[in-house]
């Protein structure tokens, strides 16, 4: 699946078949500091992601 990351903006390819929480753990990203948007829709942590999904990992922490 395609995974879009921010700061800096980039796109990586990751095999599907894992949950949202697992994906964040694998990318070493905090669950409290990110949301996962699958094919344009917000999804909770136990959602299973597929190879064909387009995923946006959106950071929610601001420093200003």
């Amino acid at each position: 699946m395609k995974v879009l990351l921010r700061n800096p903006k980039r796109e990586i390819e990751v095999p599907g078949g894992r949950s949202v929480n697992r994906l964040l753990d694998d990318l070493e990203l905090s669950r409290e500091a990110h949301l996962i948007i699958r094919n344009g829709t917000l999804v909770p942590g136990d959602t299973r992601l597929d190879d064909t999904d387009v995923i946006e990992v959106r950071p929610v922490i601001s420093g200003g």
Partner: protein
């Protein structure tokens, strides 16, 4: 065990978010309801304002300030927006655009101030002119202009989008150093005094993740990119530390901050050095100040006469320092 998609605690529809601190999942509709209820509870618990009051919301184009503006309007409050163009390159252009579209689409009243056009400087120039970090000149400008706009416009309170993570991070920093003076003033409401307007933070019971999710499900477009000046900010480190604790023990962040308010803040009442000398009026702009000329007027004088500095120059300088 086959994985069932998680369901909303309230209506059993498919959930869009898991909130470990509530030990529950929520659908879009009930996430919005939860956010509204938490905001209304904060407004009531801390005696912030009523629907008869005129509110001025400080909007930056980020998720928190647009969300609080949206929630206030949806709950029947009278709220106008105030946006300050800080002149931080592309970031300011983008964020101003989000704010304008938000206000326009909802037919809300937006007051706009532009530092360069109205005061002859911008944040990068002020940083160089004062030889301080950009956030220091930026914070001073925002505080003064929000106060002035609220007082001049006859508003009953200034509302900001500070959320639970922001407040917990500041509390963490102040506690690490036992800054009793700051701790005594770290409240979700500051009453009007000496020419300063009342200031309220209705989102203190809501996390950043909840506010970002609120914007997503409400279709609010906001600037996701960070202000380029925020890199290396000390508060970001505190937020990460608190989130690491939150992962081990959900609910820790809200206990840390909300129990501070209920248990510790009353003990600190009166500990703040409020009597920092007589508050008079600035001889140039009339703002409340303890000196002859207020800090903002001194900043305008220094920065307004300085040659304009592009944002890249300030960024390069900071990168070198890190």
């Amino acid at each position: 065990m086959t994985a069932q998609p998680s369901r909303c605690r309230s209506c059993k529809a498919p959930a869009v978010i898991d909130l470990p601190r509530h030990n529950a999942n929520f659908c879009a509709e009930h996430l919005v309801q939860l956010c509204n209820r938490q905001m209304i509870k904060a407004i009531a618990d801390f005696d912030m304002f009523s629907r008869a009051d005129r509110l001025l919301v400080a909007v930056s184009g980020g998720k928190d300030s647009l969300a609080v503006w949206d929630m206030l309007i949806e709950s029947g409050y009278q709220a106008d927006g105030l946006y300050i163009g800080l002149g931080i390159g592309e970031y300011s252009e983008d964020s101003g655009g989000y704010v304008q579209r938000f206000a326009h689409e909802r037919n809300l009243h937006l007051v706009t101030i532009d530092l360069r056009e109205d005061y002859g400087y911008d944040v990068p120039t002020a940083a160089v002119a004062t030889k301080r970090v950009p956030c220091s000149a930026c914070g001073l400008s925002k505080r003064r202009l929000f106060d002035k706009a609220a007082v001049d416009g006859g508003y009953d309170a200034v509302v900001t989008g500070h959320n639970l993570d922001d407040e917990a991070a500041v509390l963490f920093g102040n506690t690490l150093r036992w800054e009793v003076d700051y701790l005594a003033r770290q409240l979700p409401v500051l009453e009007a005094r000496d020419g300063f307007p009342k200031k309220c933070k209705p989102l203190v019971r809501l996390t950043e993740r909840e506010m970002a999710a609120y914007c997503l499900v409400r279709g609010i477009d906001y600037v996701v990119e960070e202000c380029p000046m925020a890199a290396g900010n000390r508060h970001l480190g505190y937020k990460e530390a608190l989130n690491a604790i939150e992962k081990q023990s959900p609910g820790s962040k809200s206990a840390f901050y909300l129990n501070f308010l209920s248990k510790m803040a009353p003990l600190l009442d009166g500990q703040s050095a409020a009597a920092q000398g007589e508050v008079g009026e600035c001889e140039r702009c009339g703002a409340p100040t303890t000196g002859d000329v207020c800090a903002f007027c001194r900043l305008v004088e220094k920065s307004g006469t300085h040659e304009a500095v592009p944002v890249e120059m300030v960024l390069k300088k900071h990168r070198r320092r890190h």
